[in-house]
């Protein structure tokens, strides 16, 4: 049973930020509500004021600029991202990820900003965006700031958003030449959340050595994390089976998963190793062709 709340519909960013600064911790923002409504119904979240930004259309956009990279407004739906020809062309890993994010009904109504703010470690977009060196522009009545996704998640279902702040935009830099990325989650049903997931992004030097690599693990710790030891093992190296094995083992050592009804801690670690190897290899192959 959802506890009663006062409903405030914002029609602009300015109005939403005004409501937020007025009601602060007594308020929650709803956009698509595909995560929040479940929590409200289960009584895990109760709020005095619900600020609805679903109709803030000024935050629904996808822009690309060769210098600035990709900009996606917070109220852009998952389905819009999935279907965007621009994203299919420039960030295929993002549209591939969206295709298997929950199912069509959720993607039609749910939004990228809401998904990232929900801070579920098993969410799909965060590891991919983190691997792509993405960041989040947030705003409050006082102004705007940009937070790297590396620093955005502070704990289970917690973010670096401060009182009165909300997500305005997701930013992803333009990919360097010879860069490839890959993402995969392990699950029983395709539309489920991942039991674990791994995203990798590899940039090669002109030849065949790794210049830069980012490996991000989903649902393998209280937040989405970067496997930095595993990334370091790739730098300056040539890809072979021995190296992949080392990278996988490093990621296994870095993750900190919990056991639940879907998988034990050991099984999750085992999966992290396998998926890290596969995704690094896949990203590397994609980088060669880029």
């Amino acid at each position: 049973m959802i506890k009663d709340f006062k409903y405030l519909r914002a029609s602009s960013v300015k109005e939403a930020l005004g409501f937020l600064s007025q009601h602060k911790e007594e308020s929650k923002i709803i956009c698509g509500g595909q995560s929040l409504l479940i929590l409200l119904r289960q009584g895990l979240v109760a709020t005095e004021y619900l600020i609805d930004i679903k109709q803030v259309n000024e935050l629904s956009y996808i822009d690309f600029d060769a210098k600035k990279g990709l900009r996606m407004g917070a109220t852009t739906t998952h389905r819009t991202i999935e279907k965007s020809d621009l994203i299919k062309k420039k960030y295929k890993v993002l549209s591939d990820m969206e295709r298997y994010l929950a199912h069509i009904q959720v993607r039609n109504w749910g939004t990228i900003g809401g998904n990232l703010a929900h801070a579920d470690p098993a969410g799909d977009p965060a590891p991919v965006l983190m691997a792509l060196s993405g960041s989040i522009k947030v705003g409050s009545a006082k102004g705007e700031r940009t937070i790297s996704l590396d620093d955005f998640y502070t704990d289970l279902f917690e973010t670096a958003l401060e009182e009165g702040e909300m997500i305005l935009e997701v930013q992803v830099p333009a990919l360097a030449p010879k860069t490839g990325a890959a993402y995969k989650k392990f699950n029983i049903l395709e539309s489920d959340q991942g039991i674990i997931s791994v995203a990798a992004c590899v940039t090669l030097n002109g030849g065949s050595t790794c210049k830069e690599a980012r490996i991000c693990l989903g649902n393998a710790a209280p937040t989405v994390i970067r496997a930095k030891q595993a990334e370091a093992k790739l730098k300056g190296q040539k890809l072979d089976e021995g190296l992949l094995e080392e990278v996988g083992l490093a990621a296994v050592a870095e993750c900190d998963p919990v056991a639940d009804i879907h998988a034990s801690e050991d099984f999750r670690r085992h999966l992290v190793g396998i998926f890290t190897k596969r995704m690094v290899k896949q990203a590397w192959e994609a980088a060669k062709k880029a």
Partner: protein, 161 residues
Amino acid sequence: MERHLLRITVNGQEHELYINPKTLLVEVIRDHLGLTGTKRGCETVSCGACTMIVEGMSVKGCSVLAMQVDGLKVTTVEGLEDHGKLHPIQKAFIDHGSYQCGFCTSGMLMSSKALLDENPKATIKEIREGLDGNLCRCTGYNSIVRAVDAVCKGQYREDEA
């Protein structure tokens, strides 16, 4: 208790009602408007029994606040037939026996409708992906996919409006 004015068009008919803002779309459709074809199943965005179409997009009515569809057009399973004439997808479901208990049927029909509107020539794989958000616990999936496939292959063309 706070009440808000909601204006929605359901199956072509305009409605104005005053609701508690926590009311879900499926509650407005079933309890306020009495259109009980849409079912409440899991209520956790999993089963798809409450699927309806808002402005051409399939959504799950259990996970959308009714206030968020203020001013929008909603189609429920009751809106598929046109003056007693069944929609091709409804005919195909009957012909292929695409249900056992029937609880998932209205959601399956609405997801199928959304899929066909977007992609009238869907392949079997696309049909299966399009129905990914709907569960049938009688496991009647194959007959459902056959029905949608029959419409995609043009076997119900004379029934189309």
